[in-house]
């Protein structure tokens, strides 16, 4: 093959990789600078790409909602970078492979850095660092009192010694830290009292250390891993100033409140796995894990104010205790391959979770003293699952598969209530059984074309929650056609679940249809478009109190008709200028459910939630030099709720950057 067509194919391939994109932020830039071969230093080849730019934004309407959904700000950013160093002969000094990629460093709300360093046969080290600034106004929830403005930073380190040998060693460390400001709520003067906003200083940390080893013996691999996980919370809630509370008719006043619930937890876990996979006649793997979660906690709250009767009210609550949650699991999977085109697998899983502990409770209210043992509620879950699946490639153009699933779950609980200093224990248990069958087939009528049909039917006895899957069936069909220039796909899926018991009924119906296509007629033009329609409606029997009277036999209805469309057009002019224009539209059309909703304004308003979320974007990328590009982009976000316009916003975001690759 001559060099020119090959180059064209490479360019086409990189172009094809750029289409079918999710509607992601307009920066960093996706356009490649050119065919980078890197620079060679001694035995190493170095390939780099750095995109440095400036972001800007302008918001009209609800700034908090914009921060919740998008959250891009102004400033200089290292929008994206990639660096790779590879030894050319596979025998480097300290390493053979070094890969670093970053996104949004500077002050973007979504930042990450991924790093790998490896030397063949000796070691491999992986690092993933991430940071997310998250703001949530939650206006429709808890009157907007549960806002949060926090930063979560996560890092994962994994080290493997002798990665390609028969004996391997693993070590790792992960850290997850969430910090920031938030709001919460508290009740005063007692748990039936008024609601008061409190400030919250969030501080949560989780550290995980792990080490293990794997040995290959007699065709089997034996792998074990020991994990020590430690986590703690030191969040503090405060209301230092006098606050009247939410209810203007309640005469209680809170002068100050502070509560603090520090805890320390640890989850040591052990995992042992054995597996054999040769691909010839059979394969087997087993896995056993045990984790013994434990948490020591203290809850301390003091509140000072005036009760609803006008008397001074001081309250102090102290709770301490420890909670345990041992979890044991076992899994065994056996696969057999009776013929070249047959696979039969059987998977058995067993889980046991027990949550128990001890706690003491002390409440001091003015002069009275209450001291009691807190009634720790026990919860135990035991689950046995068995799944058998078989697939058979009958001919190159047709394959069938089928399976049967069985689960048996036991839930045990013990709730203790202390009445007149005498604890009454209420113990109960219930069993659920789920049986489900699934079958499907795949057709390949022509090269690049696939048709798939699947179905599943399931029955569960006594589902735990009214809305859980009980009597369900699902059907799906999928079509895909792919050639070098055209990619088309379509999908249709329904999932219906019906729970009928003597007094209540829950039914949920979801129907999903999607169409996607991309067209790449030449190396300078491509277009991709997609549309998805997601319908969901539920009807659930409810009962509730209205002015002291019980309302039974009513139905809560909810309906969503979500339309989602995306369009992207990319064009290139003589490989010097690239232009991309995209559009993402999400519209929940809402609607009126078929049944009769409870005659209460709150229910009627909650029946559906029509809204529109629109985001067009455009990006221009100019090649200034074989190694340098100048980019500029714009993205608009428009959010509109039909019923609660207070959260609507319109935002223009943009960036300009230089991308340097060599």
């Amino acid at each position: 093959m001559s060099e020119k067509p090959m180059k064209k194919i490479l360019l086409l391939a990189s172009f094809a990789a750029a289409v079918l994109l999710a509607q992601q932020p307009v920066a960093p830039t996706n356009e490649p600078v050119g065919e980078a071969r890197g620079r060679t230093f001694g035995n190493y080849n170095l390939l780099q790409s750095w995109e440095l730019g400036y972001r800007f934004h302008s918001v009209g309407g609800s700034q908090p909602k914009y921060r919740s959904d998008v959250n891009f700000g102004n400033g200089l950013r290292l929008l994206g970078s990639r660096l790779s160093m590879n030894s050319r002969d596979g025998h480097g000094g300290l390493f053979d492979e070094l890969v670093l990629s970053t996104q949004g460093l500077g002050d973007d709300p979504y930042e990450f850095a991924s790093f790998r360093m490896a030397k063949n046969k000796l070691y491999r080290y992986d690092l993933l660092w991430r940071s997310n600034e998250y703001y949530n106004p939650s206006d429709p929830i808890a009157f907007g009192l549960h806002r949060m403005d926090t930063v979560r930073r996560m890092q994962d380190h994994d080290f493997t010694l002798f990665p390609q040998s028969r004996i391997r060693f693993f070590g790792g460390f992960s850290r997850n830290r969430q910090q920031g400001a938030a709001l919460s709520s508290a009740l005063f003067p007692d748990l039936l009292g008024d609601v008061y906003p409190v400030f919250s200083d969030v501080s949560r940390t989780q550290n995980e250390f792990r080490f293990g080893n794997e040995v290959r013996v007699a065709g089997m691999r034996i792998n074990w891993l020991q994990v020590f996980e430690k986590w703690r919370e030191e969040s503090r809630n405060n209301q230092p100033a006098r606050s009247p509370g939410l209810d203007p008719t309640d005469r209680a006043v809170l002068d100050s409140l502070a509560n603090h619930e520090p805890y320390r937890g640890t989850t040591p876990s052990f995992r042992l796995s054995l597996f054999r996979e040769t691909g010839e006649h059979w394969a087997v793997n087993g896995r056993f894990t045990y984790s013994s979660g434990r948490r020591n906690f203290v809850f301390d709250e003091s509140a000072i104010g005036v009760s609803r009767f006008g008397a001074a009210s001081n309250r102090q609550v102290a709770v301490s205790g420890d909670a345990r949650r041992p979890v044991a699991t076992g899994h065994l999977t056996f696969s057999v391959f009776p013929g070249k085109n047959w696979t039969i697998t059987n998977h058995t899983g067993y889980h046991s979770t027990r949550i128990d502990g001890l706690a003491s409770y002390r409440e001091v209210e003015n002069a009275s003293l209450v001291f009691s043992s807190a009634d720790f509620n026990y919860l135990g879950i035991r689950n046995l699952t068995n799944t058998t699946d078989a697939s058979w490639q009958i001919r190159p153009w047709i394959a069938v598969h089928g399976g049967y699933r069985f689960s048996d779950r036991e839930i045990r609980s013990r709730q203790v209530q202390t009445i007149d200093d005498y604890p009454y224990s209420l113990e109960s248990s219930q069993n659920n059984r789920l049986q489900a069958g699934a079958a499907g087939f795949r057709l390949k009528p022509a090269k690049g074309t696939t048709l798939a049909f699947d179905g599943e039917l399931g029955r569960q006895s006594r589902p735990f929650a009214a809305t859980a899957e009980k009597d369900y069936h699902g059907l799906s069909a999928r079509f895909q056609h792919r050639t070098n220039a055209v990619s088309l796909s379509a999908m249709a899926r329904i999932f219906y679940n019906f729970n009928t018991v003597s007094l209540s009924v829950h039914s949920s119906k979801s129907r999903q249809y999607s169409f996607d296509g991309s067209w790449l007629p030449s190396d300078w033009f491509s277009v991709d478009a997609g549309y998805a329609y997601l319908h969901a409606d539920t009807a659930t029997g409810i009962q509730y109190f209205l002015a002291g009277a019980l309302n039974s036999g009513q139905t809560s209805l909810w309906l969503s008709n979500l339309h989602s469309a995306n369009l992207g057009v990319r064009t290139s002019f003589r490989q010097r200028a690239d232009f991309y224009a995209g559009l993402s539209l999400t519209r929940d059309a809402g609607g009126q459910s078929g049944g009769a909703a409870p005659p209460l304004a709150g229910f009627l308003a909650a029946q559906s939630y029509p809204m529109t979320y629109l985001s067009p974007s455009a990006r221009l990328s100019l090649r200034m030099h074989s190694k340098l590009r100048w980019n500029a982009g714009w993205q608009y976000y428009g959010y509109r709720e039909d019923r609660f316009p207070a959260q609507n916003y319109r935002a223009h975001t943009g960036f300009t950057s230089l991308l340097w690759t060599f």
Partner: protein
């Protein structure tokens, strides 16, 4: 080892006749990766960046596990036929199970792939090369054909629509990946819900839902657990991909979500005789009682209040 001359003659005669009859053919032999450079220069020239390059450079690798022929099989006939794709292992011509068998010869070593034979992808005939591109990878680490989210959206367009909603996990923004929660190579039976579904969601090392790997404050154990979250999982109330509703809830208003389970009707809940209905003091006409979590603020579990009030 053949002993007597007579027996040697008989074996030789048998082999001669078999070859003449076409029963025995000379097996294709290994030619080494250098031979591939002639026709595939663009692949070979950059191959040192590929993680598979180590098979070519590590000493002591048998030829069936080294370099190009480690995956594509002995290439002597392919070379002799001047590039006939049918004369070697061409992945574009293989059935999905054959692709899987080939890749698992080396890649079965990872625990993360222990369930690959029964994964939904394998059952749906989606083999390794549907997502991974060995020679033109977009991601240097796992050799995916495109960015991970785009690989997944390529088939799961309905999921792309869910992530396009205002409240969502930040997958499109690059902060998270699908594989933070899902194992595309198949997962063990879950220890929440009834174990059979969902099928591709990977439990964390502490045998918990993957949500709790990040949302550590919700993990407990608590003196008072909200059983629905522990038994049926977070998806009992939340839509993990994305939602139009705050906190990624399944409903626009909290009280409808709560009332759908807390309806006091028989057969459900830990006691099997109904999940508690709201008390008579909760007048649903009052907006305070329609904002359940304003008072029940520790709804995921509490150490100080059985009703999650503090």
């Amino acid at each position: 080892m053949v002993g007597s001359p007579g027996l040697r003659f008989l074996v030789s005669l048998h082999l001669f006749l078999a070859v003449q009859a076409g029963v025995l053919k000379a097996a294709p032999s290994f030619v080494g990766s250098a031979a591939c450079r002639t026709c595939h220069p663009n692949i070979v020239v950059d191959f040192f960046r590929n993680p598979h390059y180590k098979t070519q450079t590590m000493e002591g690798q048998p030829p069936e596990r080294a370099g190009c022929e480690g995956c594509h099989g002995p290439a002597s006939e392919h070379v002799a036929s001047r590039g006939d794709k049918t004369k070697l292992v061409a992945f574009s011509l293989l059935q999905p199970k054959q692709v899987l068998d080939n890749c698992l010869r080396c890649h079965a070593e990872s625990l993360g792939r222990a369930q690959i034979r029964r994964s939904s992808h394998s059952l749906a005939q989606v083999a390794c090369n549907a997502c991974h591109s060995i020679h033109k990878p977009r991601t240097p680490k796992s050799l995916l054909a495109r960015e991970q989210r785009d690989v997944c959206y390529g088939c799961h367009a309905n999921v792309r629509a869910q992530f396009a909603q205002p409240f969502k996990h930040r997958v499109n923004e690059g902060f998270m990946n699908c594989s933070d929660c899902h194992n595309p190579h198949g997962a063990q039976a879950a220890n929440w819900a009834t174990g059979a579904r969902p099928r591709m969601v990977d439990a964390g090392l502490g045998n918990e839902e993957p949500c709790l790997k990040c949302h550590t404050d919700k993990r407990g154990p608590f003196a008072y657990e909200h059983p629905a979250t522990r038994v049926d999982g977070c998806a009992a109330c939340h839509q993990p991909h994305g939602s139009a509703h705050a906190r990624m809830l399944k409903r626009p208003a909290v009280f409808t979500l709560c009332l759908e389970c807390h309806n006091g009707l028989a057969n459900f809940g830990t006691e099997g005789d109904g999940i508690r209905t709201t008390p008579g003091s909760h007048n649903l006409a009052d907006s305070r009682f329609r904002n359940c979590t304003v008072c029940h603020m520790r709804i995921h579990g509490s150490n100080a209040s059985e009703k999650f009030l503090r």
